[in-house]
Amino acid sequence: MDIELSEEQKLLRDTCREFADRELKPNAKKWDRAHEYPREAVQKAFELGLGGVAVPTEWGGAGMDNIAYALAIEEISRGDASVGVTLSVNNSLYCDPVMKFGTDEQKERFLRPYAQGEKLGCFGLTEPQAGSDAAEQRTTAVRKGDRYVINGTKNWITNGPVADAIVLFTMTDLSKGTKGITAFVVETNTPGFLRQKSDEKLGICASPSCTIFFENMEVPANQRLGAEGEGFKIAMGTLDGGRIGIAAQALGIGVAAYEEAREYSKVRKTFDIPISQHQAIQFMLADMATELDAARLLTLRAASLKDRGVRHSRESAMAKLFASEAANRVCDKAVQIHGGMGYSKELDVERHFRDARITEIYEGTSEIQRLVISNALMK
């Protein structure tokens, strides 16, 4: 019942950890302050095979599994949560649905370069009036001969400002509700694809996101992903996987904050002894470590189910809900253990606290996860 990580999984984890320590951690503060997208660092991560960790090698991916993917995102996010989500979006929200629903022709053009890390993808589902209630799509795609004409707005599109292509959800039939939603995969240099300025956010400031307008954007019918009306199913299935990525990202942020708090507690003294010798601090660290381990187990369980092709909506929701909330509690305690230094931008813990906050919101708020879990529980 107890499975050791494979050598391959361990190697990827250790490689990512070392990369994060060397390339990400030392620069994360600078990128955060400058709201700078670390293009070169992302490129180097791609060179490690992190463009499409679970994409088969025949399509340019690393050909590993989702456990390896979750371990990688955790380690990368421990170094820089912004880079973590950049990669998570490319892997889970872009490559995964193209892999699963794309034709071979589409995969050649829209998967291979992205899984190989030559190009970057993004995911366009959310709209100003359609967040948790994703079915409220207002972006329309109207068939015109062998093309569709797309009009509408998407917002909070992570990677939007720098992506080369988007998996885009539209309404092809407004009268059909969720059954009228259709997915496309579209290059971002398509005429009518209009990016707005990057969002200014509380955290993950080195992960660019923006609103995108579509103005009479014409897309050939062969760029439709799946059948007409299949879009909602594609979106929900994709998010089941994406939530594993965000759980892993949250976990990585939490681990970083925990490790920094633990080390700080050994050197900082009050009342003549290191604060780590005060039970109040020890017990905080004990709870942080326990919750992070629980979060990792939930995350890897969901990843393992996905690898085995078992439905994992409930398990992904549990992983995402627990890991993101645990990460926020951990970051809060890490700030507390650091005292005034935790509030200062001089140390990384202040950034972790801000970065963690989004994990309870994107790719399904905690409330949406609770809906998913309770629906399964109360069937």
Binding site: M1, E4, Y258, R262, Q279, F283, A286, S304, M378
Partner: protein, 386 residues
């Protein structure tokens, strides 16, 4: 942060078999009797005999001594199932298993042959673990019971408290101070004491909040004479034996807590679908659904922590940290789940007509015995700050 081993928790054939045996007995027998046993404070003697027949009295004990030799993971899975039926019976069984495992680990061949088959076969009604004293709970090393060598005998004097099955045990592991002039912990030895030994006096039955069908007594040793061969392990090794046993016991209590909470959650879901307020089932309200979703999530995480610790134990890897994490997390989340179950039941959660009330009382002990939550946090804090 513990590393290396990650559990994905697909039970193998043997584990599945133990789990389903336990589940069947829990549902068909224990669950039917639990309310009555609790109400009458009735010791589950027949149930324990039946459990021994099913092979659940030495789950992680070698077949050579009558055990099932099914491993620590099977043991945890069985306790999670059984405690859904009756937590009192389960704790009694858990202590029997813990004592048997302790003798397997530290006993000489004669001790093993003499006692373990009696426990696993059910010929002994129960076995006891006598460590706590009135003034020595979390700080176990401060115990005051003494044992002195007198010719070919050890003579024990002192008192023990909170001893599960102390009045019905065929054999008891008893800790006493044998050395002075060394550190508190190094002066302790462990003995195997047979039930009915002259000088072993059973005190009053504790009147407890929960686990009312399990027997909890105080014990007094008045010049209790036992043979020299009753020493378990080496002289002065007692504290280490106790800590070793408790590390495993914590996995058991965490499993027990999860079972109680799983039963409470199952009943809360059932009730929430059935009970109506303002024209619809209360389970349709997000306020309730979300509480239940949180419990479901936390119990899932708790199960994974417990199975990870059990997996480490089974593989012979260190599991002190993992066991303490499992215990503190599982027992605290289980308490929360039982609290939610009472809340969902409203007034019906407060009366003993519904099982939620019993679960709420039963689960409360799990954050206390076999190492309080505070002791678990000390262990975890020490491990992570190494």
């Amino acid at each position: 942060m513990s590393e290396g081993t990650v559990a994905f928790f697909e039970p193998n054939e043997l584990q599945t078999m133990v789990q389903s045996t336990a589940r069947k007995y829990a549902q068909e027998s224990l669950a039917q009797e639990a309310a009555r046993l609790d109400r009458e404070q009735r010791f589950p003697k027949e149930q324990l005999a039946e459990l021994a027949e099913l092979g659940l009295m030495g789950i992680n004990v070698p077949e050579a001594y009558g055990g099932a030799e099914a491993g620590a993971v099977s043991h945890a899975l069985a306790l999670m199932e059984l405690s859904q039926g009756c937590a009192s019976t389960t704790v009694t069984l858990a202590v029997n298993n813990m004592v048997a495992e302790t003798i397997v680990k530290f006993g000489d061949e004669e001790q093993k042959q003499r006692y373990i088959p009696e426990i696993t076969s059910g010929r002994f009604t129960a076995a006891s673990f006598a460590l706590s004293e009135a003034h020595s709970g979390s700080d176990a090393a401060s115990l005051r019971t003494t044992a002195r060598l007198d010719g070919d005998s050890w003579v024990l004097n002192g008192s023990k408290q909170w001893i599960t099955s102390g009045d019905v045990a065929g054999v008891l592991t008893v800790w006493a101070r044998t050395e002075t002039g060394v550190s508190q912990a190094k002066g302790i030895s462990c003995f195997l004491v047979e039930g009915g030994t002259p000088g072993l006096l059973v005190g009053k039955h504790e009147d407890k909040m929960g686990l009312r069908a399990s027997s909890t007594v105080g014990l007094t040793f008045e010049d209790m004479r036992i043979p020299k061969s009753a020493l378990l392990g080496a002289r002065g090794q007692g504290f280490a034996i106790a800590m070793h046993a408790l590390a495993g016991g914590r996995i058991g209590i965490a499993s027990q807590a999860i079972g109680i909470a799983t039963a409470a959650l199952t009943e809360a879901v059932r009730y929430a679908k059935d009970r109506k307020a303002f024209g619809k089932p209360i389970g349709d309200y997000q306020a309730l659904r979300f509480m239940l979703a949180d419990c479901d999530t936390e119990l899932a995480a708790a199960r994974l922590l417990v199975l990870r610790a059990a997996g480490h134990k089974e593989a012979g890897q260190p599991y002190t940290l993992e066991g303490s994490m499992a215990k503190v997390f599982a027992t605290e989340k289980a308490n929360r789940a039982c609290d939610v179950a009472v809340q969902v039941h409203g007034g019906y959660g407060y009366i003993n007509e519904f099982a939620a009330e019993r679960h709420y009382r039963d689960v409360r002990i799990t954050t206390i015995y076999e190492g309080t939550s505070e002791v678990q946090r000390i262990v975890i804090g020490r491990e992570v700050l190494k």
